[in-house]
């Protein structure tokens, strides 16, 4: 199988979607080829291939970007709007939360907003406090939105295609520090269904549930610990909202123990929802309480040792897994 980066697979997904459906549009800061095709090149070649009316570079005006996308979506277009970094969604969150998410409901189902917000984020590249936050918990708490966070280039392709197909607004979160990581190339036209998790490793003793870059590292940890007789089941949610309850519960009912992990701040994070749900629905099956692992409750620091310390570590995951594996019913 050939290997591609996230940049390539997302670019390919946008390209294929625009080719397959003339209603697909792309807009955002610097997305056109005259402006370099995006700051990391994800939209490269699109304006050349599909013209500057369908691929529009915008001013630095996130509210106007989201508004243009919402309006076009209301008329049946399928805009993919880039808000460069996830922290910048805060200047457009009225548009996202009060409008994109709610117009279907508030209109009694007369209108819909089939747009995709593409945004990047993630600590680890010394960008500091205002360029690194994972805010998926906010958008997951917002009824009307769907939130995806792919962990492989192929999933990124398939999820992007599914988000573009979807009749409702989706937030597509790209992991900035992983964008040039490689993985298996996607199959043209493939879709990864929204709301469906992937079981990355099957196991018996402990379920680790998460998403994004870190869940891939967890899968490698599983391989390592398997050699020591600790059997981990690793579940990549892929979609954060709605997340795949069935997959999560089935796994936990089997293993009787779970760790939830993400790179967002732990407190009031997505892990809290998953942990609560597991307890509510699979209490009797649990040998021990669900553990949550996430980033430290602090802004992301610049200095390398601090930035590293702020992130959830594989050591924490390993320690939690070992402890849980050791608990007997």
């Amino acid at each position: 199988m050939s290997q591609v980066t996230f940049v390539q697979s997302i670019n390919q997904a946008l390209h294929d979607a625009m080719e397959d459906d003339a209603r697909v549009l792309v807009l955002g800061e610097d997305v056109g080829d005259a402006e370099g095709g995006g700051v990391v090149g994800i939209t490269k070649g699109l304006s050349q291939a599909f013209g500057c009316e369908r691929v529009k570079s915008t001013p630095i005006s996130e509210q106007a970007i989201m508004g243009a996308a919402i309006g076009a979506a209301l008329k049946g277009f399928r805009p993919v709007a880039e808000i460069m970094l996830m922290n910048f969604t805060t200047v457009a969150s009225d548009m996202i939360v009060n409008h994109a998410a709610k117009l279907r409901f508030m209109s009694g189902g007369q209108t819909s907003v089939p747009l995709v917000v593409r945004t990047m984020t993630g600590a680890g590249v010394s960008n500091g406090g205002q360029h690194s936050d994972y805010l998926e918990a906010w958008y997951a708490h917002t009824a009307g939105l769907k939130v995806v966070l792919p962990s492989t280039p192929a999933d990124a392709y398939g999820l992007m295609r599914a988000c573009i197909d979807d009749p409702d607004p989706c937030i597509f979160v790209e992991t900035l520090p992983a964008l040039f990581n490689k993985g298996e190339a996607p199959v043209r036209g493939s879709r990864v269904p929204l709301g469906k998790a992937a079981v990355l490793r099957e196991g018996r003793d402990v379920s680790v549930i998460g998403y994004g870059r870190i869940i891939q590292s967890v899968a490698q940890l599983a391989d390592r610990l398997a050699g020591e007789g600790v059997s981990m089941e690793v579940i990549d949610l892929r979609t954060v909202s709605p997340f795949d309850k069935e997959a999560v519960l089935a796994s936990v009912r089997k293993t009787g123990a779970a760790v939830v992990v993400h790179e967002a701040v732990r407190e009031f994070g997505v892990g809290s929802e998953i942990s609560s749900l597991i307890h509510e629905e699979a209490f009797a099956a649990l040998r021990a309480p669900v553990r949550r692992i996430g980033a430290k409750f602090a802004p992301v620091p610049f200095s390398k040792p601090l930035e590293t310390a702020s992130l959830p570590s594989l050591d924490e995951v390993e320690a939690a897994v070992r402890e849980l594996a050791a608990v007997t019913a």
């Binding site: 001013p59 106007a64 508004g67 076009a72 277009f77 209109s107 009694g108 007369q110 009307g144």
Partner: protein
């Protein structure tokens, strides 16, 4: 202004008659407890959407605000569905889910009504962009207030519309107040229209209570937009007769100011002018008014006869497909 045909004048009058009486009935219904809702009366501002809408087509679209019931009605939103909506009934435009701040009726181009100040403008741009992409010459009207001209979304939207030459009319109903704050206390420039220069966009201030002036400005802006020449900012000077939200205390206004403005009510003024200038007879206008009154009565009956939505509707229309939770 000899260019305006009598037909057009009467269609504007018809809309104004509908709007004025509709507002009166809504206020009465709130006072009597028949309707329970926050209501932002537009009484006094009817000329603006009545005149603009008389120039619009069905495929033209609007985005308006909490005060924009008149904008929706003028654009063609059915009165009965509107009353049902404000009554919270399942037969409402939005199945009762939206309410007065979120009237939507896509068939007549009422695409968005928003309760967030400034948010009609960015979305209007998107609707206009869609028309451009479709190769249509449809236009979009973004209605908003004077206070909304101070919020960031105004700036971003006008800049983008100008850059992209979008077929949008930015219509600012300057009623001299935003909630309880005087225009001059919130806005550093003495006219919203002047801001247009900051976006290389034509900007015009007109008497929004004068049909002829409003017509001239709107017609020019619509022509420009349809011809692909881009957006226009129209500042329509007007006044809201019943304060910010119906029932609130308007002590912040000068006594004299309100009385003076109400004495200059644009509705009887236009009505008298139509007769004086020989455009229509008193009987004709009275007949139009009676027709509108009957439409509204029928709408109220329709609303009151309709059922409330079942509680299960809380979880529908959140997504196209209901989610398992």
């Amino acid at each position: 202004m000899t260019q305006i045909s009598d037909d057009l004048l009467l269609s504007i009058f018809e809309k104004m008659a509908l709007l004025k009486q509709n507002d009166e009935k809504m206020r009465a219904s709130i006072s009597s407890g028949r309707l329970v809702m926050p209501y932002y009366s537009y009484r006094g501002q009817e000329v603006i959407p009545a005149t603009i809408s008389a120039l619009l087509r069905d495929d033209d679209t609007i985005c308006t605000i909490y005060r924009g019931t008149h904008d929706a009605l003028a654009k063609g939103c059915p009165v009965d569905r509107l009353w049902a909506e404000l009554g919270g009934r399942a037969t409402g435009t939005c199945k009762g889910k939206g309410g007065p701040m979120h009237i939507t009726h896509p068939e007549t181009g009422v695409m968005v009504t928003t309760g967030i100040v400034g948010s009609s403008m960015p979305i209007a741009n998107g609707l206009a962009w869609a028309a451009k992409l479709e190769g249509s010459d449809a236009v979009t009207v973004a209605y908003f207030g004077d206070g909304a001209s101070n919020i960031g979304a105004f700036h971003e939207s006008l800049n983008l519309a100008s850059l992209w030459k979008l077929p949008v009319l930015f219509v600012c109903s300057n009623n001299l107040y935003s909630e309880h704050t005087r225009f001059a206390a919130g806005t550093a420039i003495d006219s919203v229209a002047k801001s247009a220069a900051a976006y290389s966009m034509p900007g015009v201030r007109v008497d929004g209570n004068d049909v002829l002036a409003m017509h001239a400005a709107a017609a020019e802006a619509i022509d420009r937009a349809r011809a692909g020449e881009g957006p226009t900012l129209i500042e329509a000077m007007t006044f809201r007769f019943h304060g910010h939200v119906f029932g609130d205390d308007d002590a912040y206004m000068g006594e004299g100011e309100k009385a003076e403005r109400m004495a200059a009510d644009p509705y009887p003024r236009f009505r008298a002018w139509l007769i004086d200038e020989g455009h229509a007879s008193e009987d004709r206008l009275a007949a139009i008014e009676a027709e509108q009154a009957e439409r509204i009565e029928a709408a109220i009956r329709f609303a009151l006869d309709s059922e409330f939505p079942p509680a299960s509707e809380v979880l529908t229309d959140v997504y196209e497909q209901e989610m398992a939770r």
